[in-house]
């Protein structure tokens, strides 16, 4: 906080002269980098395609509308599969995430030196690989179909759920745990009475939130052959059946909107 004395008054500036100068150069550098990048991108762009884009988009739009409504009879089963992949995958991942979270939370882990790092590794590794990649791997291992999709979603979600849950466990009020311990309760009773009631709202919120995300993720799993509505989407795209594609997109949109609505309702009811 530099203050300059000028006669009798003390003038205050937010930054010293040097700080202002450094900031000014920072901005200059940023703008320069932006301009250079812009130029490079522009050089490697085939501008013909860009100028052509509105016409092509319009072309696809006219081909895709109106959607082929009668195709909906063939979409019931795939969208049901998609919902099942998301729901089953979420349930399996929650079952696996709960113990991982308890092993990862600083205040419940049996060993900070050995078990906690392993639990954290599980969380990071499952989280860092996209479910589409998990699905590709699993299709190679267990063959194409819904089951591969379920497992892909389940593995992908473990890290997410366990991370949020272990953070909730670390934030519990320790006094309640202390009070239950003081009654002479066993370790498991302390968990059931002192910890579980405190993390239950967080748990329910995480479950619904992840289910919501998984519905969106499972719609694309079919693209690589892991079942669900994505399979229809990819085959329709392959034969350029644009009216079918537009209908599938509408169905996916409807499913996502409904899942958003359900999860908002459930979260509202819990909190």
């Amino acid at each position: 906080m530099p203050v300059v004395e000028q006669g009798s008054s003390r003038i205050w500036h937010r930054r010293t002269r040097n700080e202002s100068l450094i900031r000014w150069f920072g901005w200059l550098l940023g703008v320069a980098v932006f301009v250079v990048c812009w130029q490079r991108i522009s050089e490697s762009t085939t501008w013909f395609f860009v100028w052509d884009a509105p016409r092509i988009a319009n072309d696809i739009w006219t081909r895709a509308t109106p959607p082929r409504w009668e195709y909906i009879t063939q979409l019931g089963r795939p969208i049901w599969d998609t919902l099942n992949i998301a729901t089953l995958g979420t349930m399996i991942s929650l079952v696996l995430a709960v113990p991982v979270a308890f092993l990862a939370a600083r205040n419940t882990t049996p060993s900070k030196l050995f078990i906690r790092p392993i639990a954290l590794l599980v969380i990071v590794s499952t989280r860092s690989i996209n479910s589409l990649i998990w699905a590709l791997l699993l299709i190679a291992i267990i063959g194409p179909g819904v089951f591969a999709g379920v497992i892909a979603i389940a593995i992908r979600s473990i890290g997410f759920c366990a991370k949020l849950l272990y953070e909730a466990i670390e934030e519990i009020d320790h006094a309640q745990v202390e009070a239950i311990t003081a009654t002479g309760a066993s370790r498991w009773q302390v968990m059931a009475y002192g910890i579980v009631p405190q993390i239950l709202p967080a748990f329910a919120g995480i479950a619904v939130f992840r289910w919501d995300i998984n519905i969106r993720e499972s719609t694309v799993l079919g693209l690589v052959g892991a079942g669900g509505i994505g399979l229809q989407l990819s085959s329709s795209l392959n034969v350029l059946a644009w009216p079918q594609v537009s209908l599938i997109l509408l169905v996916i949109l409807a499913a996502v909107v409904i899942s958003e609505w359900v999860s908002a309702k459930v979260r509202g009811a819990i909190i």
């Binding site: 309640q176 202390e178 009070a179 239950i180 009475y193």
Partner: protein, 264 residues
């Protein structure tokens, strides 16, 4: 009944919270523990039921040394020591009844407690206790719906349903208004008398301690510097415990509060 011998607690940071405490509490005696913040009051209470592990020394409860017990034995011993907390420490999302019954966890197996299938005798006792503290109509409410004074009453029920010999009470009134504080202190001391319980009560409020408790122990920097009846607690003694201050107003018998309470 309870005897602390050379009880020492040194924290990992090197702070010596308790310096060789010797204290004897006979059966049925209620004792107030006063002292400035950081004097080791909370540490001492928590060392007795080993929520905090003492560094050395012994804690004899009816002849058994609690400091030497293994995990299972310690759980059994904890059943005979009820604890009451400053911020009530109720499980907020459970009902009043579940909170009271949680005092029986040391006596009931995991699955029975998990499925809330407590023995009928425990449920009867819970209702009796809730009736005694005037909260029978609240049994089905969730703990976080209650006011401070009501929560502390539930906390008292939870401690008493353990059927303890000794109550460990940590700042029971620090979060309560003056009137409720008096009611809670009165309730605790009355219940101790009814059941012949010994109690160690940590308390900030010296006037409140003098009003309700027959024996006062003053702690300073982890050492006992005063042990005697409330009447012996003079301004000099308070200076010794807390440091220099004008104590005259504190130790004058405080009748005005009682009058206000009676008038309400």
């Amino acid at each position: 009944m309870l005897r602390l011998q050379k009880l020492i607690k040194t924290y990992k940071t090197g702070d010596q919270a308790l310096k060789a405490i010797d204290l004897e509490v006979p059966a049925g005696q209620v004792l107030a523990l006063i002292g400035p913040s950081g004097a080791g009051k909370s540490t001492m209470i928590r060392c007795i039921n080993r929520l905090v592990e003492p560094t050395s020394g012994s804690i004899l409860l009816d002849g058994t040394d609690l400091a030497k017990l293994g995990a299972t034995q310690l759980r059994k011993a904890r059943r005979s020591m009820g604890m009451i907390f400053q911020e009530y420490a109720l499980v907020e999302r459970l009902t009043v009844m579940e909170n009271v019954l949680s005092g029986r966890l040391g006596y009931v197996g995991f699955w029975r407690s998990f499925l809330r299938r407590y023995p009928q005798s425990d449920v009867d006792e819970a209702f009796r206790l809730l009736d005694r503290v005037g909260l029978l109509h609240m049994a089905d409410k969730r703990a976080d719906e209650l006011s401070g004074g009501q929560r502390q009453r539930v906390g008292i029920c939870r401690a008493l349903i353990q059927n303890p010999k000794l109550l460990l009470v940590d700042e029971p009134t620090a979060s309560l208004d003056p009137k409720t504080s008096r009611q809670i202190m009165r309730l605790i001391t009355e219940l101790c008398q009814e059941r012949g319980l010994a109690a160690i009560i940590n308390i900030h409020d010296v006037a409140l301690a003098q009003m309700f408790v027959p024996r006062i122990v003053g702690l300073r920097f982890g050492e006992i510097v005063f042990d005697g009846p409330p009447t012996a607690l003079t301004a000099d003694k308070l200076t010794e415990i807390y440091g220099e201050e004008d104590w005259e107003a504190t130790i004058t018998p405080d009748d005005t509060d009682e009058d206000i309470e009676a008038a309400e």
